[in-house]
Symmetry: C2
DNA sequence: TAACATATGTTAGTGCTTCTCACTTTGACA
DNA sequence: TGTCAAAGTGAGAAGCACTAACATATGTTA
């Protein structure tokens, strides 16, 4: 019994692949992380999945749709990680906001290729409604925590405003750190300290 | 007397162009803004500049170098705009920091293609030392203003920390606004209010 | 169980891309 | 004015996304 039977197979065994769609998404993810979004080619993904270069077009309309599918999968993982990061932190604590922020940055640093495809506007076509919707979903989680911290039971305009500030900050931080390999500020960035400080400042009256 | 004689000519007149390097940079800029970074092709730039597709390689090593040259030019423009935005605002005022932030966001919204090429990590090759250096130069301006606001005469570690926070925020804001076409937060974003609020919060003790 | 319909694969090829090579034109200066 | 380097050209190689026509496997139904 090989891996191929237990989890999504990357390469096919016989004439048919079994689940080429999933195989190609995984191949796409790996290659994007390895070579960057612009270094990705459909041909490479085909080689990795062990199929001909025409095969993907039975599952995706074009290259862009392959990337969108991969990014959507990544965003779901991203969102799940964020929710999981809240575990064990008391409701209403700014530490919950900090934890969300940290998980956000962590994802950007762990999967920079996916992160950039989603947010960097690599492809105009990636400014996709599905991706926007997935982003909103994640933002709603943040807003819920911000509301708790501010003692609000609803998502008031002020809650949105503060949430938006936090999101902007964490978003920018992710890009800068991913870009600069943390060499900014003359050395290591105290990520935890920075996030905690920001959460406090933005959530203060 | 046509434009061609007064400013950088885009198309050539005779066999030689006159300043093909500058012409190609300008063509690149226009096309990147028009079609997005990934929709840009060297061939298109050649057509726009009125030369054969082999001509650029006398001036640039490859496509990437063309993009880098264009972005470097854009960053200089960007930095000049920021410095100009300080004009007339009293030294030491947080309004100076706000003005820098606003100009930063404005550039991102005015030239989103250039902005994304610089910061979005479109091409791994664009993670170029020259671009990083140009970014640092701009950041130094911010740090100077932050120091003034905090009553420091030097760029202390705390000044760097606060400047980094502000940069992260403004950077993220730029991406989000450029991405979302301002449709977030259920409507228009009060950019001035947001920037002023953030400057106050981050510059507070 | 045989046959068909359909999903999913392949091969071959088109047109576009970046980039190279050998060649041509031009302007500047000795 | 003659020469030479700089800056252009055209043709073509290699690689890309994508298509059309064809091949193979699968599962439902007679």
């Amino acid at each position: 019994m090989t891996d191929q039977t237990t989890k999504t197979p990357l390469r096919k065994a016989g004439y048919h692949h079994g689940d080429l769609r999933a195989g190609l998404i995984e191949a796409t993810r790996r290659l994007v992380e390895e070579n960057g979004p612009d270094g990705f080619s459909v041909s490479d993904a085909c080689a990795l999945a062990g199929v001909s270069t025409a095969a993907p077009y039975k599952h995706f309309r074009n290259k862009n749709e392959m990337l969108v599918a991969m990014v959507l999968e990544g965003m779901e993982r991203h969102r799940n990680n964020m929710v999981a990061a809240l575990d064990g932190i008391p409701p209403g604590s700014p530490l919950r906001v900090k934890a969300l922020g940290k998980e956000y940055v962590t994802f950007a640093l762990t999967e920079p290729g996916v992160f950039r495809l989603k947010f960097g506007g690599f492809t105009d076509g990636l400014a996709d409604d599905r991706l926007k919707a997935a982003g909103e979903l994640t933002f709603e989680i943040v807003l819920g925590e911000v509301a708790s911290c501010l003692g609000e039971s609803d998502i008031t305009p002020e809650v949105r405003r503060r949430g938006f500030m936090l999101w902007s900050f964490v978003h920018g931080l992710s890009f800068i750190l991913a870009d600069a390999d943390m060499t900014r500020m003359g050395g290591e960035v105290d990520l935890d300290g920075l996030l905690e400080d920001i959460a406090k400042r933005v959530l203060a009256d």
